[in-house]
């Protein structure tokens, strides 16, 4: 192989390595964010249930159950994403959850509701607005990246294949 042929191949390998590490970063950050969000809500699930209720989309009697479902999805998906185990599936569930939340926020804005998003419990307070929709959309893109291109490096899935 000549030097001219080897250079593009090396460039491709380098960019592929950078891409893998970017995916790793994306996956771990996304998982970390979800674990952080769950921790903020776990301290008082009823308070989070109240935040869910503020969207006025669900009946009052099921708010705590729905709230706990969200919290535990965040914990399980967050852990799997950080560990890189079943990362694509975890990102898929995360993406679905995030998409549902974006739709809920848009409908809240459309109905003129001035409410807290409750995204991180009491740890990071922010109201529902275009800022929170944009932030959540970034999480959706991060989840999509993991679904499409996989967990990147340092994942338990790839470790298991060796």
């Amino acid at each position: 192989m000549s030097a001219a042929e080897a250079t593009p191949a090396r460039d491709q390998t380098t960019s592929s390595a950078i891409g893998s590490w970017l995916l790793t970063l994306t996956r771990v950050v996304l998982g970390g964010i979800f674990l952080f969000a769950a921790y903020g809500k776990l301290r008082n699930p009823h308070a989070f249930a109240g935040s869910v209720g503020a969207f006025k989309l669900l009946h009052e009697s099921i708010l705590i159950e729905v709230g706990l479902l969200f919290i535990w999805h965040e914990i399980v998906c967050g852990l799997l994403l950080v560990l890189g185990l079943w990362a694509r599936a975890a990102a898929l569930v995360t993406g679905a959850m995030v998409l549902a939340f974006i739709i809920a926020m848009i409908t809240a804005l459309a109905r003129g509701l001035d409410i807290e998003c409750g995204c991180f419990g009491n740890l990071l307070k922010s109201g529902v607005g275009w800022g929170s929709i944009l932030r959540t959309s970034v999480f959706l893109l991060m989840a999509l990246a993991v679904i499409l291109w996989g967990p990147g490096r340092l994942s338990l899935t790839s470790a298991g294949k060796r």
Partner: protein, 192 residues
């Protein structure tokens, strides 16, 4: 970008099932919020003439007159009286009551009932808000928010009852706007 979609979907289903199971188990460990019954205490409200801007009646609000006529159930859980600004002002002047402002801090800073404690619902997200240390459990606690359709008062009242089951609670149905419209005193940055 090559991956087996069937396996990913199967794994996603397992993740959902595990999360649902964990959530259900957790639910069995979390105590229920105290059940509260909102009963209009103000004569005008009880007579079926809610003041303008009063909280929208919902399924948990019982009209005591109608309930007596139909023989329908007694109040379940803790009764919280919905009062108007006039009754709230009576309590304010008597010194028998403390006021809890359930609105967000910026609204509270703009103006609130004098000496009210700002305790928005979101403050309970951390578990035990430090504002609870300033509550006197021997006083009537009057909670208010934005009035109209605001549910913050009820949510805060439920959280207060979790912390202090014996607390005597009342809610200003018309909220802070009703208090201001009635010309009662306020304090805060927006107060002249």
């Amino acid at each position: 970008m090559r991956f087996n979609l069937h396996i990913v979907l199967l794994q996603a289903a397992v993740i959902v099932l595990v999360s649902v199971a964990a959530g259900a188990l957790h639910r069995s460990l979390v105590p229920d919020l105290p059940t509260v019954e909102l009963l209009p205490e103000h004569p005008e409200v009880a007579a079926g003439r809610p003041p303008a801007g009063a909280a929208r009646p919902d399924a948990s609000v019982t009209d005591p007159v109608a309930a007596e006529e139909t023989g329908e159930g007694h109040a379940e859980g803790t009764v919280i009286g919905i009062i108007g600004p006039a009754r709230a002002f009576e309590l304010f002047e008597s010194g028998e009551a403390q006021f809890v402002d359930a609105r967000n801090p910026p609204d509270f800073d703009e103006g609130h009932i004098p000496s009210a404690i700002n305790l928005p619902f979101s403050a309970f997200g951390a578990g035990y808000p430090e504002q609870l240390d300033y509550l006197g459990t021997d006083l009537i606690t009057v909670v208010y928010c934005e009035g109209g359709e605001c549910e913050s008062s009820k949510l805060v009242a439920q959280q207060l009852l979790m912390a202090f089951p014996e607390l005597e609670l009342k809610i200003i149905g018309e909220g802070y706007p009703g208090w201001v419209d009635a010309g009662h005193p306020t304090e805060g940055e927006g107060t002249p």
